[in-house]
Symmetry: C2
Subunit: 192 residues, 2 copies
């Protein structure tokens, strides 16, 4: 998606050769106008999929999920990383390794919000090793809901997550795929 | 705001006499259509305030902030509870006690996203003891930005947070104020 790629080129910075910082518009400060354009693009790509539930994980995915929920005319739900004391005990649960934070999170979602009637589109801001997506897919599987596909803002195409998930037959729509950022030089994959 | 009060009556449940669960539409599953109506109401109330930045805290405030950012035509930014290893070191920082989670969080925001030019509307889903709001107000103060006011979805009027913040002279607009939920019976404060 050219709009997103242009924004990454303009505002993104590569740190230590491996970290792409896009916190001025995606995952700390958020440009809701850009999110709207991204949501419309996911809606275009998944127009025929009968999506009736958006699933994401806290925190950075929530803004995207909320805006996309308006486009798809459905509710969004975010999986929680830590169970607070007013969290349901009746939850689906999985474990997700976060390399950014260097630890394993227990991730939960109330059973009330993921049911066999749901046709779920998973959305998230980043895809690198794929741990978060695999965890969310596990929650969908536990619930008996139908996984329609996954939408990602920025996929690091030089890490293995996207490849592995596509090989599982999951429909994965990343709006920008970065195949290399060696020397701070961003190379985007051509859209199919 | 009647629409929100009605939704709380319909879908909210009181747990152990003190916890109001609204996780089917506000802070776990999210009804973006309702968020849109709430954002329009905040925009109406703060129409003359020159808001050019929305500030919230992860995670439950993010959806509201994102939708509201579209209404106000500005960017939103969320304060982060834990500094990941790709977080800026150049941050404003404060401590916030979470009674729900039973611990104190370090909360940070990059200095790049809160500046003296910003006229900040703080948004959050809940106001009870006011710790989160006080922390966010502290970040605004550190930055030299102007605090325009605070918008809250649900204020627990029987706890002291709202009263204290209004006494400080802060403009605080809560869309639903619950003055009592004894015996699970919700009593809303009349709008002024």
């Amino acid at each position: 998606m050219k709009l997103l790629e242009d924004r990454i080129r303009t505002e993104g910075t590569v740190k230590n050769g491996v970290i792409l910082k896009v916190d001025s518009f995606l995952n700390h400060q958020m440009d809701a106008e850009l999110f709207r354009a991204m949501a419309k693009e996911w809606k275009r790509r998944f127009a025929d999929a009968g999506v009736n539930k958006i699933l994401t994980i806290e925190a950075s995915g929530i803004g995207l999920a909320c805006i996309a929920a308006e486009e798809f005319g459905c509710r969004a739900v975010f999986a929680k990383k830590i169970a607070g004391n007013n969290m349901d005990t009746d939850v689906y649960s999985t474990k997700i390794m976060s390399f950014t934070k260097g630890k394993v999170f227990d991730v939960v979602i109330s059973k009330r919000f993921l049911t066999p009637e749901d046709r779920v589109l998973i959305l998230d801001d980043f895809l690198a090793n794929g741990c978060a997506l695999q965890g969310l897919m596990d929650l969908v599987k536990q619930s008996g809901a139908t996984l329609v596909g996954c939408g990602i803002a920025i996929e690091k195409g030089f890490q293995e997550g996207g490849k592995r998930i596509r090989e599982e037959g999951v429909r994965l729509e990343s709006l920008a795929i970065i195949d290399s950022m060696e020397g701070g030089n961003l190379v985007f994959r051509e859209e199919a």
